[in-house]
């Protein structure tokens, strides 16, 4: 499962950077692999809990073996659906797949009452909201971005000042999330003041002087693109990190459930997710990126032609912020949704030259079918396992 996530979804995180020719596919694989692992290992904890426990009512599963079989069924179902969908080029969400899978076996075992529909509704709502928030975020960031650089009298000069500002801002978010996720800080204010802002300032200063030393060109457009080509490597890394934090839960949640049964003989107890399971998930994602993600990103790098570095930066920055914020709130959201939302947001700000409307429609359809399809596959596998087991 983790491999499938790495192969499919994780490649997305770097795709804008590769597409805008900021880095080569090979570099992307290394960066994405490392950061996905880091994100999964350090940032992945609270989301893992949400998916494992939130969807089904654990008190209704009396037989621990049901949890084991069910988790295996959910994992297999999600993996199968992910591979099938990828074969047909459908951009399905791993989060949807696994949640569909969990709900599927739950319904087969104990009927619809076992599913926590309130929680399910909340999760579905976050799927609907994440592209919308992604779009709004990207719209305003892109607007602010163009206003601060291209609409000035001297775009070269504004680019020198504002580019470090935007890059610094991205690091404020990264720093804050580092505090909340890695150090398990509770107070957002402390995170922003003690970690986010200092890191942002350091990055701002470093970037400011780097740009001052050599601004690539006297043409603001060429120059700005060149700055953001480098910044995009960082923001893409940031997306990969955020992605690892969120999506490791998909692969690991059910594994953690199995682990809980295996070690304590009981399901549904409050068990911390052991680090090594997170590491396993992170490793799976990283291997997925390296084995299959390479090919995917190479294709992307050669085929996406109309994505510039500034837009790529805006998409990455908005998507990552939304994904990390959701991760902080413990809501499982899809990177794909948020990125698609961000792309549309930039389109609405008239920054994108051409988006394929048909594909946007297909994506939205696939978002809706994933949960039921993964649920059905999981239900079937679960039935077979129960009969055989």
């Amino acid at each position: 499962m983790a491999w499938a996530i790495g192969a499919n979804d994780a490649a997305n995180s770097m795709s804008t950077a590769v597409g805008a020719k900021a880095i080569t596919p090979k570099q992307a694989v290394i960066i994405a692999g490392l950061l996905e692992f880091t994100g999964a290992y350090f940032f992945g904890k609270s989301v893992t809990e949400t998916i494992r426990k939130g969807i089904l009512d654990p008190t209704m599963i009396t037989d621990p073996m049901v949890l084991v079989y069910g988790s295996v069924a959910a994992l297999l179902a999600a993996t199968i659906w992910l591979i099938v969908a990828t074969k047909f080029g459908l951009p399905v969400s791993t989060t949807h797949s696994i949640i569909g899978g969990i709900a599927g076996y739950g319904i087969v075992y104990a009927g619809t009452a076992i599913v926590n529909w309130g929680k399910m509704g909340q999760v579905v709502l976050s799927w609907i909201l994440s592209p919308i928030i992604g779009a709004i975020m990207a719209y305003f960031i892109f607007k602010a971005f163009t206003k601060s650089i291209f609409e000035r009298k001297d775009p070269v000069r504004s680019a020198r000042i504002w580019s470090p500002f935007w890059i610094g801002l991205a690091f404020v978010v990264i720093g804050t999330m580092f505090y909340i996720k890695v150090l398990h800080g509770k107070d957002l204010k402390t995170g922003v003041l003690m970690y986010g802002i200092p890191l942002g300032i350091i990055v701002f200063v470093v970037t400011y002087f780097l740009i001052k030393l050599r601004f690539p060109s006297s043409d603001p457009f060429v120059g700005v693109e060149a700055i953001f080509r480098k910044a995009q490597v960082v923001t893409s890394g940031y997306v990969a990190l955020a992605h690892g934090a969120n999506d490791v839960a998909n692969a690991i949640g059910p594994v953690a459930a199995v682990y809980a049964v295996a070690t304590m003989g009981l399901g549904g107890m409050e068990v911390p997710v052991p680090r090594w399971i997170l590491a396993l998930g992170g490793l799976g994602i990283a291997v997925g990126v390296a084995t299959y993600g390479y090919r995917v990103m190479e294709t992307v790098g050669k085929k996406i032609t109309e994505l510039t570095n500034t837009r790529g930066f805006t998409i990455d920055f908005s998507a990552a912020t939304v994904v990390l914020a959701a991760s902080w709130l413990g809501l499982p959201i899809s990177t794909t949704h948020t990125v698609v939302g961000a792309v549309i947001g930039i389109g609405l700000a008239r920054g994108v030259k051409a988006i394929n409307k048909d594909i946007v429609r297909d994506i939205i359809i696939s978002w809706f079918v994933t949960v039921p399809v993964a649920g059905l596959i999981s239900a079937a596998i679960f039935k077979v396992l129960m009969v055989v087991g």
Binding site: S15, T299, T305, R350, A354
Partner: protein, 224 residues
């Protein structure tokens, strides 16, 4: 992932710029043909006029390709209709250049008054200016989109459009002046030469007319 390769369609703006480069090349070749014509080097003139014809074909092919790729499935920063009509107008600039080249090919001029020859050459130079400005305008349009429709970039674009309009006006004046000259020299010119000269002038002023139409379409692209 496959979807990312599909999500971002190829924007028509780079191909539009490529088309405009060919159009510009067509008009520049015509200018050289006119210079050869002016200096009486008719062999060279014919070679260049044939080249104009060939370049116009190239522009046509690019135009077809852009049309085929520009489906209504695209969400673009500017209206699809505006892009298509703009493309049509830009292509007309090359067509008009080809028309002039045809006139150069069908007849070698007899003895023409120097004034008329000068004026024709001047009209040629001016229409190249208009075509060059159209090229600059579409490159600038790309930047307008790049900047997310920044005011400064839009202002630069308006500046270019105004320049195209003033060049067109100037050529209109030259056109009228040429008509007068031909009629004033009615006795020195054969019927055929007069007809020939007036048609060259008409097709030349067509180049700037179409350039102006193209510029107006760009204005519409920015207004939405």
């Amino acid at each position: 992932m496959q979807v990312w390769t599909k999500l971002f369609a190829k924007s028509p703006f780079k191909p539009l710029i490529k088309h405009s480069e060919v159009v510009l090349n067509t008009v520049e070749t015509l200018e050289r043909a006119l210079q050869a014509w002016h200096s009486g080097n008719y062999g060279e003139m014919e070679r260049l006029a044939i080249e104009v014809d060939r370049l116009e074909d190239v522009a046509d092919r690019i135009k077809e390709e852009i049309r085929d790729s520009l489906s209504s499935k695209l969400m673009m920063a500017v209206a699809r209709e505006d892009v298509l009509i703009y493309l049509h107008m830009q292509d007309k600039v090359a067509d008009a250049a080809e028309d002039t080249a045809k006139w150069l090919l069908v007849k070698r001029p007899g003895e023409l008054p120097a004034e008329i020859k000068e004026l024709i050459l001047q009209m040629g130079t001016e229409s190249i200016k208009a075509a060059k400005l159209v090229h600059e305008a579409i490159v600038q349009m790309d930047r307008v989109i790049e900047s997310g429709f920044a005011d400064g970039e839009i202002e630069k674009e308006y500046g270019l459009i105004r320049k195209i309009e003033s060049v067109e006006k100037e050529i209109d004046g030259l056109d009228t002046r040429l008509m007068q000259l031909v009629l004033e020299n009615a006795e020195n010119l054969s019927w055929g030469d007069g007809f020939y000269v007036l048609n060259i002038a008409r097709t030349l002023s067509n180049i700037s007319d179409k350039a102006k139409d193209a510029a107006e379409r760009i204005r519409l692209m920015m207004n939405k």
